[in-house]
Every structure is written in structure tokens, then in C-alpha cells.
């Protein structure tokens, strides 16, 4: 009954989002710590080429 999904979000899925968000909070916190530590140690990742953002930002075309 995949088709139900278009409008029916699925109750279990809605409930699960609380747990997913909590996990995500930990992940983001952890990444932040890592980034800060890397900053202290002078490690910096090169900005990725062709990231999603670069795609839109450098776009100078005039509509």
C-alpha cells in the first residue's frame, strides 16, 4: 500500500521523528566539537568543490 503514502504520513513514522531528531541533535553536537577541535589543531578541511551550495552561490547569471 505504498500509494497511501502520498497523503498518509504513517503514524509510526511521525512518532519516530522525535527519536530521529534526538539522535540528530547528538550527531550535530559531536560534529561541532570535532570542528572546534580541528580548529584548535589547525586542521581545516578544504571547501568541497561542486558542493550543493557552490552550485547556487557562484551563479552570477542575471534572470
Amino acid at each position: 500500500m505504498n500509494n497511501l503514502l502520498y497523503f498518509d504520513a504513517g503514524l509510526g513514522m511521525m512518532i519516530a521523528q522525535g527519536a530521529i531528531a534526538t539522535v540528530a541533535g547528538f550527531v550535530l553536537f559531536y560534529k561541532k566539537i570535532i570542528t572546534i577541535l580541528q580548529g584548535w589543531l589547525g586542521i581545516r578541511k578544504a571547501a568541497k568543490e561542486n558542493s550543493f551550495d557552490s552550485n547556487y552561490n557562484k551563479d552570477t547569471e542575471i534572470k
Partner: protein, 455 residues
């Protein structure tokens, strides 16, 4: 006439009139639309180039009609390379996060809501945007995982076949199926575990919940944004390691530098004479030859069967920031079919190319694969190409070409069945559908370039 792809959402639909696409909004959606207009959210997204632009044409109590910016060629999710798929997924998440911050949200997360326009991912389903109700979870999360995250994960682990999922499973991949195919260790990643393993448990629950009343479920906006940001970050870091024979192609190429340049120059020269503005390169690999025409044309579509080559093409193109290029993963021997309800919901690759109406088709280093590997007779491929455009530039590698020799060798005792693979048989068959304008041998190779004009 209502467009056959646009029936699922009672809020409104797309229709075509005099070759142009319009969007009708039904009264049931007026409140949502007006709220979006007065908040300025549409303009905000237009400026970010995340949402296809539209202008309101007319408004009365029974319908509002919008005229969206017209897109010349729509690609579907099963025609995207890995990075394209990734960027489409990221666009959807960014959009939802951006909308949330403005008290709006996406009511669905179908991958068909995204396509590529001027080389970039763009969201095209304006009516998916509705008002956010405080503290409600995202009802499209599971759909997002079925349409985007699941196929991306599987293709990361097991190859780009899995990027084709929506072609045969138009509602996305069941998360239990995704889970089953993920390697054991993947469950130790918190993002994968929570989005695939946790949500798969709720797949199919509809059947058993029958009769249970709906408790209200809450999730704060800040938590939802965290959840989506972590998912977006994970996707941003995904990479496809896949490599196929085609990626090796240019390293074991049959061309020396000089022949390569000769072929490039020939194509550029011929196209200059033709003055084509819309070109499709049907076996374009990573776009090496097609891109030579970018200075001359308004629009270029590069197709190839090989996902890594198309991905390369897309990445190159992002670097150079061209607005003219569309990249498509497509197997000419089994091009994307027309699918969905009445086979009309998503149109076939062929009919979209015909609608695009290119001035010129290019088929370089393709005919020997179609004829010898795919066993398609010359006449059938000639007819196939002739439906797309007036002009055709096609390269014919003769029996002395090393690739052709290799394929013929592999036929062994059936080799004699392909004795007709000769340049004269080719030219004769193609002249049933085309006039030969000119042909020129590519120096230093066993290949000849032909320019045909449709009869």
C-alpha cells in the same frame, strides 16, 4: 488539457495550452496559496533559484492560473547521475529547512518534484508548499527516504543500478528492501540507522493500525531542523566509488591526440555551417565532444548509458557554470519508458527528445555498440535517429577499428552473421531516411564522420 502527470494532488494541476505549460490552483488550495504570496516566500525561493519562477495570469473564485517559467527538457530521477541525485535530495531538504524558518513546509517529497534547469537542480511543484502547523513532524519524511535517501545509499554501496529505482517503483523504494540490502555495519551509523532502520519498522503499519484513533504527535520546529540538517550533512558527504568500463574508455582510447583534435574540429566546423541552436549528443560520454559546441549553441543535452561519465560531465559543468547543459543517464537500447497511470504519468525519453526538437543529433562512437552489441539493424537505428532532428552527425568505425574487431571476435562462430557491418551497407541503409550531405574520414583512425539531413 490536464497533464497526465498531474492528478495526484487535489490542490490543482498542470495543463498544456498552445504548447505552453500552465498551473491551475483549485479553490481548496486558495488559502495556502494566498498565505504563501503574502509572506513573500515564493519570491524568496525564486531569488535563491530553488523554485521555478511563475507569474499569476488570472484569478477568479473558481480557479487561479499560474504561468511557470517554461522548461525545455525535463529529466526524471532515474536519469540522474549520482551527484545530480544528491543535489536534488539536498535541494529538497534545504527547501524544507528554509520553508520551516518562514513557517511553511513541503507537504510531499517526491523526487519527481525536482528536475534540472539551466544546469541546476530546481523544485518545480509549487503547490507542494503549504503552511507549517506548529510542532507537527514532517509528514513527507518517509517519502523522502523512499525517493531519495534509500536509492542514494544503495547506489553508494552497490552501484548506480539503484539510481533507477523510481523507474520501476514509481512510489520509491520500500525501506525494508533498502534495509535488507545495506551492509551489516551500516546500522552503526546513527543517521542511517534512524532514517532507514527505524522508519522501515513503520512501513506497512497502515494495514494493522486499522481502527486505532490518531493521537496527536509533536515535534518542535528546532528539532525538525536539526533532524533535517543532520540528514543533509550526511548526504552532502556521500560519494559514489563506482567505475565502469566506460570510465576507462579514454585511457584505452583508439585515438591519438591528433585524431582527437581533428574530430573535435570537424564537429565544430560542421555545426557552425548548420548553425544549430539545440543539440543532443546521444552517446556523449562525459561530454568531451559535445562541450566543444557550447559556444555555438543555446542548449546542449548530453546523454550516456554510463553513470560515472555523466556524473563527470555534470561536475565539470558545475565548475564552468554553464547554463546551457543538461546531463542525462540513458541507455539507448532501453531508453526510459513512459510509466505510471495509463503509462502517461512520466513520458518516455524518446517523446521528450521529440518535444525538445533539437536541430542536430550527434551519435559519436555509438553505432558499433547499437549494431553489433545490440544487434539493431542499420535501418532501425537510422529510423530511430531520424525522428529526433533534421540533422545527424554520426561516426562510423569500420571493421578495422579495434573496438569493432573486439566485438566481432567475441561473436565467435556467429561472426558471419555480422558480415554486413560495412561502411557501404551503413551508408546505404541510412540513405533510406537521410540525405548524405558529406562525410570525412578521421585521420589516423578507421572511423568516418557523416553528416546527414533527414529526407
Amino acid at each position: 488539457m490536464r497533464h497526465p502527470s498531474s492528478y495526484r494532488d487535489p490542490s490543482g494541476f498542470i495543463f498544456k495550452k498552445d504548447g505552453k505549460v500552465y498551473r491551475q490552483i483549485n479553490p481548496v488550495f486558495f488559502d495556502e496559496y494566498n498565505a504563501a504570496v503574502s509572506s513573500g516566500i515564493y519570491n524568496f525561493l525564486f531569488d535563491k533559484k530553488w523554485l521555478v519562477r511563475h507569474k499569476e495570469l488570472s484569478s477568479n473564485p473558481s480557479r487561479i492560473v499560474l504561468e511557470p517559467e517554461q522548461l525545455d527538457f525535463i529529466t526524471y530521477p532515474y536519469e540522474w547521475s549520482f551527484t545530480q541525485y544528491k543535489h536534488a535530495a539536498q535541494l529538497t531538504l534545504r527547501l524544507q529547512i528554509g520553508l520551516l524558518k518562514n513557517d511553511f513546509c513541503l507537504k510531499d517529497a517526491s523526487a519527481f518534484n525536482v528536475t534540472f534547469h539551466k544546469g541546476k537542480a530546481i523544485f518545480i511543484d509549487t503547490l507542494s508548499i503549504e503552511r507549517y502547523k506548529a510542532n507537527t513532524p514532517w509528514k513527507a519524511l518517509k517519502q523522502f527516504n523512499q525517493h531519495f535517501f534509500g536509492p542514494l545509499l544503495l547506489s553508494q554501496y552497490h552501484g548506480s543500478l539503484h539510481l533507477k529505482t523510481l523507474q520501476y517503483s514509481i512510489n520509491g523504494m520500500d525501506l525494508n528492501e533498502v534495509k535488507r540490502q545495506l551492509p551489516f555495519f551500516s546500522r552503526f551509523n546513527p543517521t542511517v540507522y534512524s532514517h532507514i532502520y527505524t522508519l522501515s519498522k513503520s512501513d506497512g503499519e497502515n494495514d494493522t493500525n486499522h481502527g486505532i484513533s490518531n493521537p496527536s504527535v509533536e515535534l518542535s520546529k528546532a528539532s525538525q531542523i536539526k533532524m533535517l540538517s543532520a540528514l543533509e550533512m550526511f548526504i552532502d558527504n556521500m560519494e559514489s566509488k563506482e567505475n565502469t568500463e566506460w570510465s576507462k574508455y579514454y585511457s584505452v582510447t583508439n585515438y591519438n591526440e591528433k585524431s582527437f583534435e581533428f574530430k573535435k574540429d570537424l564537429i565544430v566546423k560542421w555545426n557552425k555551417e548548420l548553425n544549430s541552436k539545440k543539440v543532443i549528443d546521444l552517446g556523449g560520454n562525459d561530454g568531451t565532444f559535445g562541450k566543444e559546441l557550447l559556444a555555438q549553441v543555446d542548449q546542449l543535452i548530453v546523454c550516456d548509458i554510463d553513470q560515472p561519465a555523466v556524473d563527470q560531465c555534470y561536475l565539470e559543468h558545475l565548475k564552468n557554470d554553464s547554463n546551457k547543459l543538461t546531463c542525462v543517464v540513458n541507455d539507448l537500447l532501453q531508453p526510459s519508458p513512459a510509466i505510471g497511470f495509463d503509462n502517461q504519468e512520466r513520458s518516455s525519453f524518446n517523446s521528450r527528445v521529440i518535444d525538445f526538437a533539437p536541430d542536430l543529433c550527434m551519435a559519436l562512437a555509438l553505432i558499433h555498440h547499437i549494431t553489433l552489441s545490440g544487434n539493431v539493424p542499420f535501418e532501425m537505428s537510422a529510423q530511430y535517429f531520424s525522428q529526433f532532428s533534421k540533422y545527424l552527425i554520426i561516426e562510423f568505425p569500420d571493421r578495422e577499428d579495434s573496438w569493432v574487431e573486439f566485438i566481432l571476435d567475441s561473436k565467435r562462430e556467429a561472426r558471419h552473421l555480422f558480415d554486413d557491418y560495412t561502411i557501404s551497407a551503413f551508408a546505404k541503409a541510412y540513405q533510406k531516411h537521410f540525405n548524405l550531405i558529406k562525410s570525412e574520414k578521421i585521420v589516423g583512425t578507421a572511423r568516418t564522420l557523416f553528416l546527414f539531413e533527414r529526407l
